[in-house]
């Protein structure tokens, strides 16, 4: 593996409170040296001038759907991880609602094997909490973890039965495996296709209240207090949930949460045109929810930005709004939207790095999140000034269902390195 010298970038490693213009040398798949004026590596080595760019620990996405096995017509591990690499992510955690769902070690092993063969970035599988995600009997969490799962989740559904949720939190503790909950009380959400509020009242779309999310979260937090289980809330979307998580953290409960870029950038008014690319679950919320999410992201109540990258084919999306599948893709737009939040004063560059790298790593106890000497060389180089227009036709993902099509973007990943290997680079850096 050739050495790589990243010359003259702004190296941002908030976990070590490091922020300086300097050089970074990657050798043997590890971060070898960080200091100014490093000599160029030997003839096999590459020198890449990254002046005016940020050099940061590889970004980690806690929440993606790679659709393999079973729904490869939407996405697969190869295309999904290529999209991740292009978006600046060096690692992704893939949700278990595949077909069959990832509730047995055989499925986990298949994902791990496919990722090894075809994956551009690190893939950490997430197993199911319950068999078949049915919410009834616990899945084999021990074996799932042994096969490579880093967490369990029934994402796509909340665990409705309180007793099952209690036992899941307890059982998972024995293995130290975190639970990721998709908070949604099915009875309250009742098939609502958007957020219940002034916009849904005007559009006449069947809607679900924010309380469908926060009511389950409130119950879960009491169960966390009862069991001491490690709990991560997926895609927090409303102000009420922010308040509950904030209080829970103050109580010292072992809880974390993530937010999607689309919930940070858009509101329910975006559903005005009944465009199914604005339909996802949890849905886009009100502007006051959006403001609460931004505040919580800034103050650390929210630990991570996670895309909930949910690829769909036109078959699922070119239909009536209420009939359309939930979900939008996000791997290739998340970073630019986070840079937009820096421009808007919501985040600092250092906080952006924490919420997209160190934060997600800490949530699930994953390696990475820092540029410590000797650590695996997972590095992302970001050009915060690059301007571009979001065009889904150019995405590496198989899917096109982005709500940001046509948006003027600023900031993008220009180089992604995983374990010392370049998995994505902009043309100007091809050496």
């Amino acid at each position: 593996m050739p050495d790589i010298l990243l010359r003259g970038g702004r190296v941002l490693d908030p976990m070590r409170e490091f922020d300086a213009q300097t050089d970074v040398l990657l050798r043997d798949g590890r971060i070898a040296r960080i200091e100014g004026g490093l000599a160029a590596p030997g003839k096999d080595g590459k020198v890449i001038n990254v002046k005016d760019c940020w050099v940061v620990p590889g970004l980690i996405d806690l929440h993606v759907h790679l659709r393999e096995p079973g729904q490869e017509y939407k996405e697969n591990i190869e295309t999904g991880t290529a999209a991740a690499a292009a978006g600046g992510f060096s690692a992704v955690c893939c949700m278990p609602n595949t077909s069959p769902p990832n509730d047995t070690r055989a499925v986990t092993e298949l994902i791990v094997q496919r990722a090894r063969d075809k994956g551009a970035v690190r893939v950490y599988p997430i197993g199911c909490i319950t068999q078949g995600q049915k919410g009834e009997s616990l899945a084999d969490m021990g074996e799932l973890q042994e096969a490579g799962c880093v967490a369990v989740s029934d994402d796509g559904h909340g665990v409705m039965n309180s007793e099952v949720m209690r036992r899941a939190l307890e059982y998972a503790r024995s293995f130290g495996i975190p639970l990721i909950q998709h908070c949604e009380d099915n009875a309250l959400s009742a098939g609502g296709a958007m957020h219940e509020g002034l916009a849904s009242t005007r559009f006449g779309i069947r809607a679900q209240p924010a309380a469908a999310e926060s009511a389950m979260l409130a119950r879960d937090l009491e169960l966390v207090a009862l069991t001491g289980g490690r709990y991560h809330m997926a895609h927090i979307s409303c102000a009420a949930s922010v308040r509950l998580i904030r209080e829970a953290k103050q109580r010292g409960l072992p809880v974390t949460c993530e937010v999607t870029p689309h919930n940070l950038m858009l509101t329910d008014e975006a559903c005005a045109g009944y465009d199914t690319f604005f339909k996802m679950n949890p849905p886009l919320r009100s502007s006051s929810d959006q403001a609460a999410l931004r505040e919580a992201l800034a103050d650390g109540t929210i630990d991570a930005i996670a895309t909930d990258h949910a690829p769909h084919s036109p078959v699922e999306k070119e239909v009536e709004f209420e009939q359309a599948a939930n979900g939008v893709i996000g791997l290739e737009t998340a970073l630019a939207l986070a840079v937009e939040l820096v421009d808007a004063g919501v985040l600092t560059p250092a906080k952006l790095v924490v919420r997209m790298s160190a934060g997600p790593a800490r949530v699930l106890g994953l390696p990475g999140g820092s540029l410590a000497l000797g650590a695996p060389a997972d590095v992302t180089v970001i050009d915060p000034q690059a301007t571009w227009t979001c065009d889904a036709a150019r995405f590496r993902s198989k899917a096109r269902n982005t709500p940001f099509g046509g948006r003027a973007m600023r900031g993008r990943s220009v180089l992604t390195v995983v374990g010392g290997a370049i998995v994505f680079s902009e043309e100007r850096f091809v050496v």
């Binding site: 009242t201 005007r202 069947r206 009536e320």
Partner: protein, 315 residues
């Protein structure tokens, strides 16, 4: 073409101007008398094709559109859920593209989901008339209601109109709120709180969770049925209790102005939201609504179908 109406489609009342609404109402008035002729037909839309794409059960609205098209001499074709390909797994867009390939001039669509008329208008060349999309809009109903109110009250501006019942599931309520607000009426909605959409006041109306205070001083009382097919059943205990507290009976109607009129878009559930004595009473204009429905739909088809000048009046 008649001045004052520039829409290519009729998707909803929310975006229509007062002038556009008035244009349809005025034209509807002129079409009314055709129903009284011995030969109820004018050649205005001869050679035009109107497809009624009804993907949700409907008898009265479909019949009304069908008669309207026939009285204008258009060729009307019915395409209903039972006979459609949608039950065979075809998407709405594919159905629409197939219909479009037959080059109709107007497609009238009724569909269970909000936004479906808009979706159709984005995909095909024909003019689209929304005949009800989920709980969103039902613009021709609001137009015929406005026509009825104007005929009986000689004006709409300044009137107090109360809409009672299952507001949340009702496209009729939404279209009426938008239309009546634009025309300058004061709109009140009333029903059990579990039937009122969140923040309904933001549409430009007052909301009441009991009907008595809403009825006080009303000029027009519009009753809506409970949409059991949209799972409204979980929102109230039973029809007996509903009738007792939220039904329009003579005692409650007495709270409205003495000359208040009673309307219902149908289908009516006698003994639930409306007492038979009120439905059949002297202040009911329910059947007049139905008659005007045909004339208003003729006006809409005429405006969207590019009917020529004064041709119809000469016949």
């Amino acid at each position: 073409m008649t001045k004052g109406f520039t829409q290519r489609h009729l998707l909803g009342m929310e975006r229509l101007t007062r002038e556009e609404i008035t244009t349809v109402l005025d034209l509807g008035e002129r079409f009314l008398e055709i129903a009284d002729r011995p030969i109820k037909k004018v050649p205005t839309l001869r050679g035009k094709t109107v497809i009624n794409l009804f993907l949700e059960p409907s008898t009265r609205t479909r019949t009304s559109f069908e008669i309207a098209a026939k009285r204008l001499s258009a060729d009307g074709i019915n395409f209903t859920a039972a006979s459609s390909s949608t039950v065979k797994g075809e998407t709405l867009i594919d159905t629409a593209l197939n219909l479009d390939a037959m080059n109709p001039d107007i497609v009238v669509i009724r569909h269970a989901q909000a936004g479906s008329a808009l979706l159709l208008s984005q995909r095909i060349r024909a003019a689209i008339v929304n005949a009800g999309d989920g709980a969103h809009e039902h613009p021709t109903q609001a137009l015929l209601d406005a026509s009825t109110i104007r005929a009986h009250k000689k004006k709409i501006e300044g009137l107090t109109v109360v809409i009672c019942g299952d507001i949340d599931h009702s496209r009729v309520a939404r279209s009426n709120i938008f239309a009546l607000r634009t025309l300058g009426a004061h709109v009140r909605v009333a029903g059990p709180r579990s039937f009122l959409p969140m923040g309904v006041e933001s549409l430009g109306c007052e909301a009441y969770d009991r009907i008595e205070p809403a009825l006080e001083g009303a000029d027009v009382v519009m009753m809506l049925r409970i949409q059991m097919e949209r799972k409204a059943g979980s929102r109230f205990p039973d029809t007996r209790e509903y009738a007792r507290y939220f039904g329009l009976n003579p005692r409650r109607l007495a709270l409205a102005k003495p000359d208040a009129i009673v309307m219902h878009p149908g289908p009516m559930n006698r003994g639930v939201e409306i007492d038979p004595g009120v439905a059949d009473g002297p202040r009911s204009v329910i059947l007049d609504q139905v008659s005007r429905g045909v004339a208003i739909r003729m006006a809409v088809l005429y405006l969207l179908g590019g009917g020529s000048g004064e041709e119809w009046s000469k016949s």
